[in-house]
């Protein structure tokens, strides 16, 4: 069993009175694409800074690529490419000069191949045309790409990408997704923090969710989704009877029909001019959805629409971290 790519036990960081990261037990298996989720201010970046040895933990320990951090930063970090809290460059240098500078700081990066590796990295993120432009003339998206190029200067065993698609246009976002997939295919472990859930859902194999400095959930994406409840939504003019039938089947019928659950679908149906009637929503539990339809039809309920609603990542995320702007701080 190979070491975990990232492993923390009881990792804690306290800034004066504020507990930024609280008793974190991360486990990132090698080869995983790990989505590190959490609302703004939930401790994601502080965690990343601790993993990379920029910030000292108040308590607990962190192992990256099998070695204790921050004691082994010098031997571990050359194998790690990272984008931390947005890209940062010397504005008065060109993109190319900035990359060369960071590469020169890595004492394991061979000088001989530096120029070629910089050109290659710029090419991979589509910045070859702007290589000689000063960074202060770069757009936000270009800086973001340059930041990703910096993480790619050497072959890495682990990539830590903090909000990699921030500021990118849809094309750039797709490219980053494709890049992440290609690293994963090469066996590189990718640890990507994001609050763009759809993004994470598309590329990640594993998910961890932070809330107010604590890791509130962690596992494979499938496990994570399975923990969420599946519901069924029935559209019928005979709402009362449908409720009775479904309750009779042992389903937990929501009192407020469809209240709060994907309210968008209801006006959409109405707009189609189809008098679909009311929507009845119930938690499915372990029962196969088709048996519900059969029971409803047997009981003479006019079923005009039937949907199973899987909890998507966003619903799980909100369940775990709270609604709206009232997220736990």
């Amino acid at each position: 069993m190979p070491d975990l790519a990232i492993e923390t036990h009881g990792l804690t960081k306290r800034f004066r009175s504020q507990l930024a990261v609280d008793d974190l037990d991360l486990a990132v298996p090698p080869g995983a694409v790990y989505g590190f989720l959490g609302p703004n201010g939930s401790g994601k970046t502080t965690t990343i800074r601790m993993l990379l040895g920029l910030v000292a933990a108040t308590a607990g320990d962190a192992r990256v690529l099998g070695a204790d951090m921050p004691r082994h930063v010098d031997s571990v970090l050359p194998r790690v490419g990272a984008l931390v809290e947005g890209p940062a460059f010397s504005p008065y240098l060109s993109g190319e000069a900035n990359l060369r500078r960071f590469d020169a700081a890595d004492r394991e990066a061979p000088r001989r191949t530096r120029a070629a590796r910089v050109v290659e990295a710029l090419d991979r993120v589509g910045l070859s045309h702007a290589a000689r432009k000063k960074v202060h003339a770069y757009s936000l998206g270009m800086k973001q790409r340059l930041g990703i190029a910096n993480a790619l200067l050497m072959r890495r065993e682990l990539l830590v990408l903090d909000e990699p698609t921030n500021g990118l246009d849809p094309q750039g976002t797709r490219e980053v997704r494709a890049l992440i997939r290609s690293f994963a295919e090469d066996g590189t472990t990718v640890f990507v923090s994001s609050h763009l859930l759809a993004e994470v859902e598309q590329v990640c194999t594993h998910v961890g969710v932070m809330s107010a400095g604590r890791l509130v959930a962690q596992g494979t994406l499938d496990e994570f989704r399975a923990e969420g409840e599946t519901r069924v939504l029935v559209r019928t003019p005979d709402a009362a009877r449908a409720r009775r039938v479904m309750a009779g089947l042992g389903l937990d019928v929501d009192e407020e029909a469809a209240g709060g659950i994907r309210p968008v679908t209801i006006p959409a149906t109405d707009a189609a001019g189809n008098a679909a009637g009311d929507a009845v929503v119930a938690r499915l539990g372990t029962r196969p959805p088709e048996s519900v339809v059969a029971a409803l039809v047997d009981a003479g309920v006019r079923v005009r629409g039937f949907e199973t609603l899987h909890a998507n990542l966003e619903q799980r995320f909100v369940e775990l971290t709270g609604e709206g702007f009232d997220v736990v701080q």
Partner: protein, 299 residues
């Protein structure tokens, strides 16, 4: 895309890592590489050239003013000012005497104070550290770069002064403070020695600037604090009530290069100055390391 290039560089990278080259040798090479990159960055920066340009203006102003207005009355103005019309070689010496109390320390304050705080304010500090540059290694490289700038600054004033003097005034053998007269070549060597003296004088201050630079993410704060300390030290050096403190002030020997203008050259003040500056470098270097290796990098 060119995965061949990728694969090629990768195996090269791995090869180097596992090669027979001993680790210290590899690291020494890496440190030189980082220093080269740091110097390139420093001297590619427009600000650096603006600072050196401002310093170069001092001898130009002195030379042109005297050329236009005529010789200064004997015994007034900075030392050697009255001799310039007789011998243009004195422009460089006069300029460095004028620049040492304020202009030079200001430029050193900018470069040394910016060393770490500037990287922090750009956010590049975190990327240098995760490269990983190594915290102590980064401090050493930053300090050496600041020291190189000190030399560049002192040389700029002396060399520019000599050129200006050469162009605007007659040149001839130089009468030294001890009364002896030396040829132009000998005098030029002494001017270089003065530039070296001034460079050494600024090393202690550079270490103070580097330390202050590790305390903040606002470079202007560290720059101003460094320059203010230099001026404060000079003021204390001028107060007779604080005489017991004078030999310990890092500015105390700043204008002591007159001994290089005697025949034979008296090196005592050079040595005393170097020893004092080394003390400052050790103390503030240690403080900078102590602060920086435990610092949480949040910028």
């Amino acid at each position: 895309m060119s995965s061949e290039v990728e694969a090629g560089t990768t195996s090269a990278g791995r090869g180097d890592r596992e090669a027979v080259v001993s680790r210290p040798a590899l690291q020494a090479g890496g440190t030189l590489s980082l220093l080269g990159s740091e110097l390139l960055t420093l001297f590619r920066r427009r600000r650096t050239w603006a600072l050196l340009g401002a310093l170069a203006l001092i001898p130009i102003l002195i030379g042109v003013a005297i050329r236009v207005a005529g010789a200064a009355p004997t015994g007034r103005g900075p030392a050697f000012l009255d001799q310039i019309t007789n011998n243009g070689l004195f422009v460089g010496v006069t300029a460095i005497i004028v620049a040492t109390p304020l202009f030079l320390p200001l430029t050193i304050g900018v470069v040394a104070g910016d060393a770490i705080a500037g990287e922090a304010s750009h956010g590049t500090l975190r990327y240098l550290l995760i490269a990983p540059a190594g915290r102590i290694r980064l401090l050493v490289v930053k300090y050496v770069a600041a020291a190189v700038f000190c030399a560049a600054a002192a040389l700029t004033v002396v060399v520019m002064g000599t050129i200006v003097g050469w162009v605007l005034f007659p040149i001839g053998p130089v009468t030294l403070l001890s009364g002896a007269t030396v040829g132009v070549g000998d005098a030029l060597l002494r001017f270089l020695a003065i530039a070296a003296y001034v460079t050494v004088s600024l090393l202690g201050m550079s270490a103070i600037g580097l330390f202050l630079s590790t305390l903040t993410t606002v470079p202007v704060g560290a720059m101003a604090a460094t320059a203010i300390l230099a001026v404060a030290s000079e003021i204390m050096d001028a107060l007779p009530q604080l005489e017991w403190l004078h030999p310990w002030l890092f500015t105390h020997y700043w204008l002591g290069f007159g001994d290089l203008m005697r025949e034979p050259v008296v090196w005592d003040s050079f040595a005393e100055n170097a020893l004092l500056q080394a003390g400052y470098v050790l103390v503030f270097g240690a403080l900078a390391v102590g602060r920086f290796i435990t610092k949480d990098v949040l910028s």
